[in-house]
C-alpha cells in the first residue's frame, strides 16, 4: 500500500464518485447506493489497470484546453474537406518511429492513439510492435512535430520518463 496506490485510489474514487453523483443527483437513495457502487468500481478499475504511474492532475488540466482546441480544429478541417467540391485529400500512412510512442506503457499508448484520432488529419490504428500506425488525410500536412509533441505531453501527464526505463510497466 504505497503512495502511488493511495493516489490512484483517491483519483479514481473522485472521478467515479463525480460520475455517480452526476448520474444519481439529487436522489438521496441513489447517492447512498453510490457508497457501494463507487468503491466496487474503483476496485475493478485497479484490477483492470493497476496503478503503475501517477496521474499528474495539473498537467492533465493544462493539456485539456489544447485537446479541446485540437478536436474542434480536427472537426472543422474534416468537415471542410468533406463539403469541398474538389475534396483536398491525399490519404496515406506515415511512419512514426518508436521513439515518441515506444516508451509509453500500453494504456497511455491507447490514450495517445485516441487523442490523435480526434486531432486534425491523423488517425491511429494501434501499434505494430513499437511503431505507432498513423493514417493521415493529407500527406502534405506536417505531422512530424505534432505527433511527438502529443506523445511527450501524455508521457508528462503520467510522469513517464523515457530516459529511465521502468521495470514491469
Amino acid at each position: 500500500m504505497d503512495g502511488l496506490w493511495i493516489r490512484a485510489v483517491a483519483h479514481r474514487g473522485a472521478m467515479l464518485g463525480a460520475i455517480w453523483a452526476a448520474l444519481s443527483a439529487p436522489d438521496p437513495e441513489g447517492l447512498a447506493l453510490g457508497l457501494v457502487a463507487v468503491p466496487a468500481a474503483v476496485a475493478l478499475s485497479l484490477r483492470l489497470l493497476p496503478a503503475r504511474h501517477p496521474l499528474i492532475l495539473w498537467r492533465l488540466a493544462l493539456h485539456l484546453p489544447r485537446f479541446l482546441a485540437g478536436s474542434v480544429t480536427g472537426g472543422v478541417d474534416v468537415a471542410r474537406r468533406a463539403f469541398a467540391r474538389k475534396m483536398p485529400l491525399d490519404p496515406g500512412w506515415i511512419d512514426v518511429p518508436p521513439e515518441p510512442s515506444g516508451g509509453l506503457p500500453g494504456g497511455a499508448r491507447v490514450a495517445l492513439g485516441g487523442e490523435l484520432s480526434l486531432m486534425p488529419g491523423t488517425l491511429a490504428a494501434g501499434c505494430d510492435g513499437d511503431r505507432l500506425l498513423v493514417h493521415v488525410l493529407d500527406r502534405g500536412g506536417r505531422f512530424d512535430a505534432s505527433i511527438p509533441r502529443e506523445a511527450r505531453e501524455i508521457a508528462a501527464i503520467i510522469g513517464h520518463r523515457r530516459d529511465r526505463p521502468q521495470g514491469g510497466a
Partner: protein, 94 residues
Amino acid sequence: MADLATLLFTALGLVFFAAGTVGLIRFPDTFSRLHALTKADNLGLGFIALGVAFQAESWAQVARIALIWVLALLAAGAVAQLVARAALMRRGGA
C-alpha cells in the same frame, strides 16, 4: 436568449453531423471515412450537447449532458482505433 443559443448550437452540431455523413459517403477509403466519422461527429455531438445544456433546469442535468459527451468522446477515440486496426488487418497490412 437561451432558446436562441440552443437553436444556434444544435444547428451548428447538425452541420457537423451532416459533414461526417457526407465524408462517410464521399471519402475514398475506409480509413479516410473513419477520419470524417470520428472527428466531425464528435464535434457535432459537442455542439448539440452545448445547445441542449441551455435548456437544462439544474446543474445536475448540465453535468449529465457533459458526461454523455465525454463518454462518447472516449468511445469515439477507442472505436476509431479498433475499426482502423480491423480494416488494416483484413487488408493484410499489419
